[in-house]
């Protein structure tokens, strides 16, 4: 008789037994046991920061999840409705407009800076200095001979500059025109493609001029320099009269800037302590570069590296939670 029990009813029975275990346990020390969701973007430092902050929050008793997400659109989608609680790295240099749009919705909050300064600019490997001795001063690029040294067959006699994806706020086409540089801007569709070209050129000691940003593993791995353009100011991008070219805007370098943390606006009320920690969370640039290097150049896993930082800086993050 008992063996007429089908496996379906066996599963049901098992579920009945398990039900009390599955039910949410009594509230612990934290305000809410709902998961705090930190978005993972697809580059190392962002994952590293997310895992460090998440690790700290877990030590404090919170439940943390790490959904993967798209960098720019997360600002105006998942963070506005609480699908994601924290986005850890939004750069002034590439997401300036998107961050403004996100704040305009009123459903997200800028949590303050991450610490390291974002720098992005035209960059060349050191060996190119021989062919264009005036560098890093940008005026050297106006010399046709120097531009030709950076050319390829399809851009010659103009130099070839490999810019970031068109979705990043680069304004390189405008810059080239405003500064009168004999360069053609080629847009890489993704930064993976951009660094693939750099790696290939660097191995062959071939000419290359491209958009690089820091903190990133590339300036650590390859020897090179940033081009020095006229210093960026906000007016330079908006006011044509500013700068050397009286008729055009964008006659200066790229903005440097901060890297910002963002949260869903509801986080403050739902997890006040976690909110405090997330707001206080900062990491210095030297630390971040070293940790990224451990991952990208030495091949450790991100979780290992994050755990080391958390153990080493216990005093620091305990203070944040006070």
């Amino acid at each position: 008789m008992s063996f007429t029990l089908t496996w379906k009813s066996a599963v049901l029975a098992a579920m009945a037994v398990a039900a009390p275990i599955l039910a949410p346990s009594s509230a612990g020390a934290v305000e809410s046991n709902d998961p705090i969701k930190i978005v993972l973007f697809d580059w190392t430092s962002a994952v590293l920061n997310a895992k460090i902050l998440g690790g700290v929050l877990e030590k404090l008793g919170y439940t943390v999840e790490y959904p993967t997400g798209d960098y720019l659109s997360s600002l105006t989608t998942s963070l506005t409705n609480g699908d994601a609680t924290i986005g850890i790295e939004y750069w002034d240099t590439t997401a300036g407009e998107a961050m403004k749009a996100s704040e305009a919705t009123g459903q997200t909050e800028r949590l303050g800076t991450l610490g390291p300064k974002a720098k992005e600019e035209w960059w060349y490997p050191l060996y190119m200095k021989e062919k264009c001795p005036g560098l890093p001063n940008w005026e050297a690029l106006k010399d046709p001979k120097c531009a030709e040294a950076f050319s390829t067959a399809e851009t010659a006699p103009k130099g070839r500059y490999l810019g970031g994806p068109v979705t990043w706020e680069g304004f390189d086409d405008e810059r080239v025109e405003a500064l009168g540089l004999p360069f053609t801007v080629i847009h890489a569709g993704t930064d993976a493609a951009m660094f693939a070209e750099l790696d290939s050129a660097y191995q062959r000691k071939a000419p290359v001029m491209l958009w690089i940003y820091s903190p990133h593993w590339a300036p650590a791995k390859y020897e090179g320099e940033w081009v020095q353009f006229p210093e960026y100011t906000a007016e330079c991008y908006t006011d044509p009269k500013w700068g050397i070219n009286p008729d055009k805007a964008h006659d200066c370098g790229k903005p440097h800037g901060e890297i910002w943390k963002f949260s869903w606006a509801g986080m403050k009320d739902k997890w006040p302590v976690a909110y405090k920690v997330a707001k206080a969370y900062q990491i210095d640039v030297a630390d971040l570069n070293e940790l990224s290097g451990e991952v990208d150049l030495k091949g450790k896993t991100i979780e290992e590296v994050a755990a080391t930082w958390i153990t080493a800086n216990e005093a620091k993050w305990k203070a944040w939670a006070q």
Binding site: F3, V166, E197
Partner: protein
């Protein structure tokens, strides 16, 4: 008889007029091209007349979001339950409690899962399949991609049954109501298959949230259509005698459907199932961008850090998973249901019990032996350095030769071609395409084509659309030019076929993103790289359909050819090729559609066309703009598909094999 004679006469008459009309339209296009200034409004679509479709779509999305979020969110919450269970079971383990006091029930042991796969393989396909399943899953363990592979497998395991059931019901509806099929189901399927997923990611994110659920639904939208098509086809093909028999036996409507029709259509249905699995695995990269994680995320993260080897391994893990699941599902389809002789619980369920036992046993053991939960890193190994070294070696030694070739192709062929496509006048093309449509398929087709082409122009996206057409056109041409001869070669030699088949299987399942980055190292960013990546992906159907087409030429025809004294060449030229032509054309049709689906990936290596438009919309979270650009891509595909299908039908009619 006279009917047939009459209609052939009509076809011939229409032929001549048709040719004249098409020629006339081409002449008009040439005139517009010759006098660009006088006829500028016909050459370049006037900005003032652009219809703001994207604003309308955007407003509609906003309305949908404001009024139906409760519905979409509760749907998402419902789907989330089984999905989370699968994630926990296979990959993450069940976590109870919070913070320091939390404890975790371990996930299924890799040993148990692999053992069950071997067992399944053995039961359905014998020793060979068992070895394939075992080696495949062990490779996932030893290459240290198990965690993410299981995340992907969990998503697939929940998604695929979901797609199959939805697809089956939609297909049954399509079968029962031809009218619904013609006016609603078939067009929707076309759209779902040609519209790039990236175009509807933003609406997905807004309505269903950034979570694995969105990823699952996006995968479902993309992977379900073949199941619907296979169901409709299978049910429609069930012989009339069987249907009559069911009626005679006194079946009720539902008995007839579920006990007679669906079982009879099983072979077709299984082809659908197989396609669902393959397409679902195709989506892993994209789903990782909206919250699914898994192998796709591994690929992205590795490529961002230029770890080509790691990306390649994660990509190959996807291939392994695809091959194992594909072979297993095919074996299951071929295995005939055995009569249940052994009665009783044990007799019927011994396999299930055994499998559960293996899973439970190994998982319980894994509490004592952690190595059975996660293989220690010291035992795993990686081939990553070799991939990197290989690519570096080629870069250093062959870059200059490749660069010379690339520049030559770019300057002499691609750039001029691109410029001439960009210059094509919208009004002229609209006329030419409509005339061709009318000639091949009558007024109905002409109307459809005119509307779809008109949409491309009125959105103000004409130039990007022509750039897309250029890249797809060139790639599809190259893919066909390479793929058809390879397919012919395969059809003439089993050995060649045995070598080529696994290669094209891999090309189809490995994420293009894995090999596009190494290609950039050799060919720089730009059109040449994009073309290579597109050709590598879209060559597959050209090879497959050609091979298949030639191989299924009826034996009697070949014998008749031999008897009438054909030389080998004549046999091929006069018998095999003409008979296989419709099949080959279908292959080309698929090649074009696959080229179009690569447009988005190509935008990642710096092409500037509709793909880039979709990306811009994605980064600005602009739902309307993305969907409209996606629709234009879809419409290009549908136009190409309709014209080629109409042409194939005409060819069949003329040969009398319709």
């Amino acid at each position: 008889m006279s009917d047939i004679a009459l209609s052939t006469g009509r076809v011939h008459g229409a032929n001549r007029t048709g040719q004249l009309v098409v020629a006339g339209m081409i002449a008009i296009t040439a005139v517009i091209l010759l006098f660009p200034d006088a006829l500028s409004a016909l050459a370049k679509y006037p900005d003032g007349l652009v219809v703001p479709f994207k604003d309308w779509v955007g407003a509609f999305m906003a309305w949908l979001k404001a009024n139906f979020t409760w519905l979409t969110r509760s749907l998402a919450a419902a789907i989330d339950v089984p999905l989370r269970f699968a994630f926990s079971l296979l990959a993450k383990g069940f976590k109870f409690g919070n913070g320091e006091t939390a404890w975790t029930l371990p996930r299924l042991s890799w040993l148990g899962v692999t053992a069950v796969m071997v067992w399944l393989g053995f039961n359905f396909g014998g020793l060979r399949l068992a070895v394939l399943c075992g080696l495949g899953f062990l490779a996932l363990v030893f290459f240290n991609v198990w965690d993410n592979s299981m995340l992907t497998l969990a998503l697939i395991a929940i998604c695929v049954p979901f797609c199959i059931v939805t697809g089956l019901f939609l297909g049954i509806w399509g079968h029962l109501s031809p009218r619904a099929n013609r006016w609603f189901i078939a067009p929707s399927l076309d759209l779902m298959q040609t519209m790039p997923t990236f175009a509807y990611l933003i609406p997905m994110l807004l309505l269903f949230g950034a979570s694995p659920v969105s990823a699952l639904l996006a995968t479902g939208l993309f992977a379900t259509p073949p199941m619907v098509r296979a169901t409709i086809l299978g049910l429609n093909k069930v012989p009339q005698e069987i249907k009559d028999f069911a009626d005679m036996a006194g079946c009720t409507k539902s008995q007839k459907l579920w006990r007679v029709l669906v079982p009879s259509a099983k072979p077709s249905l299984m082809i659908g199932v197989n396609q669902v699995i393959m397409l679902a695995l195709n989506m892993v990269i994209i789903s990782s961008m909206i919250g699914a994680g898994g192998l796709g995320y591994d690929v992205l993260l590795a490529l961002r850090a230029l770890k080509i080897g790691q990306a390649m391994e994660a990509g190959l893990a996807i291939v392994i998973m695809a091959v194992v699941l594909d072979r297993l599902s095919q074996a299951m389809a071929h295995k005939r249901p055995e009569a249940v002789i052994a009665a009783g619980f044990w007799g019927r369920h011994s396999n299930t019990v055994l499998a559960i036992g293996m899973l439970l046993g190994s998982t319980v053991l894994s509490i004592a032996f952690p190595a059975m939960n996660k293989l220690p890193d010291s035992l795993t190994f990686t081939t990553a350095p070799y991939w990197k070294a290989g690519v570096d070696w080629i870069t250093i030694n062959f870059f200059d030769t490749i660069e010379t070739m690339r520049v030559f192709v770019l300057l002499n062929f691609l750039n001029p071609l691109r410029a001439s496509f960009e210059a094509l006048p919208w009004f002229g093309i609209l006329l030419v395409l409509t005339a061709v449509g009318w000639r091949l398929g009558g007024w109905g087709l002409a109307l459809v084509i005119a509307v779809l082409t008109g949409f491309c122009a009125t959105t103000g996206l004409w130039v990007p659309a022509m750039q897309t057409l250029y890249l797809c056109g060139v790639s599809a041409l190259v893919a066909s030019a390479l793929g058809i001869p390879i397919g012919l070669w395969c059809s003439r030699s089993d050995r060649v076929s045995a070598i080529v088949t696994p290669i094209i299987d891999t090309l189809q399942t490995i994420p293009s993103f894995c090999f596009i980055i190494p290609v950039v190292m050799l060919f720089r960013v730009g059109d040449v790289t994009a073309m290579i990546a597109t050709v590598a992906f879209s060559i597959v159907p050209a090879v497959r359909y050609t091979n298949h087409g030639i191989r299924q030429v009826p034996h009697q025809l070949i014998e008749a050819g031999i008897v009438s004294g054909c030389t080998k060449w004549q046999l091929f030229r006069r018998v095999q090729l003409p008979v296989a032509m419709p099949e080959i054309m279908l292959g080309i049709n698929q090649t074009i559609l696959l080229s179009l689906s690569m447009i988005i990936i190509c935008a990642m290596v710096g092409t500037r066309d509709l793909g880039q438009e979709v990306f811009k919309a994605l980064s600005k979270a602009d739902a309307g703009r993305g969907i409209v650009a996606g629709l234009v891509i879809a419409f290009i595909g549908i136009i190409a598909d309709r014209l080629i299908t109409a042409w194939v039908n005409r060819m069949r009619e003329r040969r009398g094999t319709a």
